[in-house]
């Protein structure tokens, strides 16, 4: 059994071999799992906001979908992943409450999902599966070796996408 590496909010981690990456309690944030199926190198990013260019204070790159995914991909390649072979799966982007207090909060989950997909398509990384939206939190575990993306939610059966 490998190690399960925890990814916090506004963070990303990569791993290989038997190891897995996990993030607990994804709400409106989005978890983006990327791997190279041939080498089994992969990683998981936990982003909070869709676009770093919309915000002045944007030094924290893992916080945003655009810069977070970019950095995650770079690190996967650095660890031996092949840029052209990468594939992705995403989860999260829920609407936890039916309102947000500011314009930036309106449908932020949905916008996080959209921004993540857009970045992936810009980078020409195919999106194989997703479990997004709805109104509940998700805990996810990603196994880059076989590509399993395990999703757990409160009061629901575990699923693998």
């Amino acid at each position: 059994m490998g190690e399960v590496i925890k990814v916090g909010m506004a963070d990303w981690k990569t791993c290989s071999g038997e190891d897995a990456v996990t993030t607990l309690g994804l709400g409106s944030c989005v978890g983006i799992a990327i791997r190279d199926p041939a080498t089994g190198v992969g990683g998981l990013a936990h982003i909070m906001l869709p676009d770093s260019t919309e915000i002045r204070n944007n030094g924290n790159r893992p916080k945003f979908a655009d810069t977070g995914i970019e950095d995650l991909v770079k690190d996967i390649v650095r660890r031996g992943g092949n840029r052209g072979r990468l594939v992705a799966k995403i989860a999260g982007g829920a609407q936890m409450f039916s309102f947000g207090s500011k314009s930036t909060m309106i449908r932020v989950g949905e916008r996080n999902v959209q921004a993540s997909k857009q970045k992936l398509s810009e980078l020409k990384i195919p999106l194989l599966a997703e479990d997004t939206g709805k109104t509940y939190g998700r805990t996810v575990i990603f196994y880059p070796k076989n590509g399993d993306f395990v999703i757990r939610a409160v009061g629901m059966p575990e699923k693998v996408i």
Partner: protein, 211 residues
């Protein structure tokens, strides 16, 4: 003060927030004691400025089941406020409030599904507690603050916290958490997150004479 961010908060501002937390928690404790008709003690609240990744651990783990009450405020301050407590603590409060009529087994609170009655009771508790805080803030700053109808969320701590974290995330990399412990026969940990928008922060600080 266009470039105010959370990292630049002064000790003085922290003290103000702590005091605010104290007064708010004091008000809330009194209200709570009247509501459940028993003596409730309160500990000095802790005010912490945390990184997003530290948040989960602070409340007992990102996947811990929590109950949260989230409401918007408007008036002289725009923003939102969240009060959070563990599902076990919520079950305890509901039992007290309903004089044990629903007989929730607190040991198994995590598996217990709150019905309409329980949710309504929790919302009421949340309303009273957040109301007490907002009253303290309003009284201290002499500003008008109007809360919206509360919304209830029962889910993993991380998922619930993502909502205020994202709001804070727009202008900083840290989040301000006020932790309050209430106790009657058991100790209940309550977590408070106030999320005023940037202009409101300046207004709060200004009216308190901090800036």
């Amino acid at each position: 003060m266009k470039d105010l961010n959370m990292e630049q908060l002064t000790d003085q501002y922290f003290d103000v927030l702590k005091e605010l937390g104290n007064i708010g928690a004091g008000n809330a404790t009194t209200a709570l004691a009247q509501m459940i008709d028993c003596k409730v003690d309160m500990h000095v609240p802790q005010v912490k400025l945390l990184e997003f990744k530290e948040l989960g651990d602070m409340v007992g783990g990102e996947d811990k089941l929590m109950v949260s009450i989230f409401l918007q405020v408007e008036g002289d301050i725009d923003g939102s406020i969240m009060f959070m407590l563990s599902k076990t603590a919520a079950a305890h409060l509901v039992n007290k409030l309903m004089c044990g009529m629903l007989g929730i087994d607190e040991e198994k609170a995590d598996e217990y599904e709150f019905g309409e009655m329980e949710c309504s009771a929790i919302k009421e508790v949340g309303n009273i507690i957040t109301g007490a805080y907002l009253n303290a803030l309003s009284g201290l700053t002499n500003m008008k603050i109007f809360p919206s109808i509360p919304q209830l969320g029962i889910d993993m701590a991380g998922a619930l916290l993502s909502v205020p974290a994202i709001e804070f995330g727009v202008f900083g990399d840290k989040i301000l958490l006020i932790q309050t412990q209430f106790s009657d026969d058991v100790v209940l940990d309550g977590f408070f997150i106030l999320i005023p928008d940037m202009e409101s922060y300046e207004r709060i600080l200004g009216s308190l004479g901090v800036m």
